[in-house]
């Protein structure tokens, strides 16, 4: 089997699944664990949202320039 013939499309798909999986994993963390040690419970301090934003940016980058 000539592995080089596997379309790059699959690399983008697998990467997309990894990014979405990480975002879901981040969101599933308990609120108490996320805010532990935070001065306030302000929404902007929810690092789960930061993780989702980071993954969304990566998803967009790889969707455009993946292959």
């Amino acid at each position: 089997m000539d592995l080089s013939k596997i379309p790059l499309f699959w690399a983008v798909i697998i990467t997309g699944i990894i990014f979405v999986g990480i975002a879901i994993w981040a969101v599933l963390h308990p609120r108490k664990y996320i805010y532990e040690g935070a001065e306030t419970k302000a929404r902007w301090r929810d690092v789960r949202i930061w993780a989702v934003l980071l993954m969304a940016i990566q998803l967009a980058i790889y969707a455009v320039w993946g292959g």
């Binding site: 990467t15 990480i22 805010y35 040690g37 980071l54 292959g67």
Partner: protein, 505 residues
């Protein structure tokens, strides 16, 4: 490069200001914890900027721009797929455990979770690697001043040693982190200047693409086919994305140490996540210059080696005045990596070697003094060792090879230690040592380094699991607070950790 007049003033002013700024933080250093962990007082944004400053060295500028010149934007994988997911893992999974366990180093954490043997192997490997890279950094920075400013080489190395030494010895991690913030800003400004001028000359992104793509159709793809000799996509995905990058962001002492200086568990988490946003911008600084060189250099003989792409951009695209600024940002990249390397090596030598094996019960003041003495010795070592690195041109490659030997096994050992309560001291030891053996064997067989990282990681995991299952588990009281499931779910463990952190303050 046409350095002169205003450029020289900018560079000299920068070199003079950095140690003065760093020494200011001496007033906050009274104990060993102040020196090695900045008194656990750093806010998340300082650590985030320091992380990126430490992460990007002058070699990254040269190497990444050179890689982009040769292969295209695939080089950006080191900053995106090969960093951001790992930083999220580090933020939510690894760093909270390091921070709460009250350790100063990654080997120290492994000592708590596994055994002294595992801790010592890790400490020795990291010390060897960091101390040797120090000589390379000193040589590179001296060479830079010598090449662009015409200053004598040995004098340039000594000057850099004095600049870095003054604030690293006196101010410890606080000075290192705060100067990294300034240096990170310098790098951003310098990179932005190159980007604006480059896009101006290529008429924007679409102009850049149209100039390069007809000759190099794969230069704007983040993934390359599986038969690509350097960057096959499967290697990028599994070797870089799932092993090398998490090993760097979750287990590298110079990276982890500043997060341990966070003022709270939240700041520790947020620092790495915040650094992720900055990291997203890094390809603009280090990859774009390589593409500008490829598009705008009409005579390829001017860039005989791809690593000359960034210097070519500095020499040929930047007007007088801006050259000094970009050159200062280049020095900033080197200084911020050097100071962190010195500080981290001193911490490992003090905590994992001296305090563990030579003098266990000395006063805090003793360890503070010792940390400073070791820092001075490391700076002197860097100066003496720097010319040696030039005599052996393969030494940089050798150091990178050494790093690749233990990156996968280290990640496997730390990861299993955190997520699997059944992993024990024997599993950790055999997994780590066996994984390094697998790395060496695969490298000698000629396998691509990305695949070596992956398979040594897998081998280390398998060895750790099998040996742990056949030997006695660790007692619960030993691993309480060090395993993910126990911390996230059990309120009694959370209470224990809260008391441990409060007690440590």
């Amino acid at each position: 490069m046409g350095i002169g007049g205003y450029d020289l003033v900018i560079v000299i002013a920068y070199l003079a200001a950095i140690p003065l700024f760093g020494v200011f933080f001496k007033r906050y250093v009274h104990t060993g914890e102040d020196y090695f962990l900045a008194g656990r007082m750093l806010p998340f944004w300082v650590i985030a900027m320091s992380l990126i400053g430490t992460n990007i060295g002058a070699y990254d500028y040269m190497g990444a721009a050179g890689g982009a010149y040769r292969f295209g934007i695939v080089q950006a994988n080191y900053e995106w797929l090969g960093a951001i997911p790992a930083m999220i893992f580090a933020s939510l999974l690894f760093i909270p455990f390091y921070w709460k366990s009250g350790v100063y180093t990654v080997p120290e954490f492994l000592g708590k979770r596994y055994s002294t043997a595992v801790r010592t192997i890790e400490a020795v490997l990291w010390t060897l690697f960091l101390a040797c890279t120090l000589g390379i950094f000193f040589w590179a920075s001296g060479l830079m001043l010598h090449t662009y400013l015409g200053w004598p080489l040995q004098l340039s190395i000594i000057l850099i040693a004095i600049i870095v030494g003054v604030y690293t010895v006196t101010g410890g991690l606080a000075a290192v982190a705060m100067t990294d913030v300034v240096q990170m800003l310098m790098m951003l400004v310098g990179g932005l200047a190159v980007m604006i001028i480059g896009f101006n000359l290529t008429h924007g992104w679409s102009g850049l693409v149209s100039m390069i793509k007809p000759m190099h159709p794969q230069h704007f793809q983040l993934f390359l086919p599986l038969n690509h000799p350097q960057y096959p996509w499967l290697g990028i995905l599994f070797g870089l994305g799932l092993v090398m990058s998490p090993a760097w962001w979750c287990c590298h002492q110079a990276i982890i140490q500043r997060t341990l200086g966070a003022r709270s568990a939240w700041d520790a988490k947020a620092s790495m996540m915040g650094a992720g946003f900055l990291k997203t911008l890094v390809p603009l600084l280090v990859v774009l210059p390589g593409l500008f060189a490829l598009a705008l250099c009409k005579d390829p003989s001017q860039i005989p080696n791809p690593d000359q792409a960034f210097p070519w951009v500095m020499r040929n695209l930047l007007p007088a005045g801006l050259s000094g600024l970009v050159f200062a940002s280049f020095i900033a990249a080197l200084l911020s990596t050097m100071d962190s390397t010195i500080n981290s090596t001193a911490t490992i030598l003090t905590r994992d070697i001296y305090q563990k094996f030579i003098r266990k019960e000395a006063s805090d003041r003793h360890y503070l003094l010792l940390g400073r003495v070791i820092t001075v010795i490391l700076v002197c070592w860097g100066v003496v060792f720097a010319p040696v690195t030039n005599k052996f041109p393969g030494i940089y490659v050798a150091m990178q090879t050494l790093l690749s030997y233990f990156q996968g096994p280290t990640l496997a050992t730390v990861l299993l230690g955190i997520i699997w309560s059944r992993a024990n001291r024997w599993g950790g030891l055999v997994g780590l040592a066996g994984g390094v053996g697998i790395s060496i064997g695969l490298t000698l067989s000629g396998m691509n380094f990305l695949y070596v990282a992956w398979w040594s990681f897998v081998g280390s995991i398998v060895l750790n699991v099998v040996v742990s299952l056949f030997t006695k588990p660790e007692p619960l009281e030993k691993i309480q607070g060090l395993v993910y499931g126990l911390v996230v779910k059990e309120s009694s463990t959370q209470e224990l950790l809260r008391k441990r952190v409060e007690g440590g303050k």
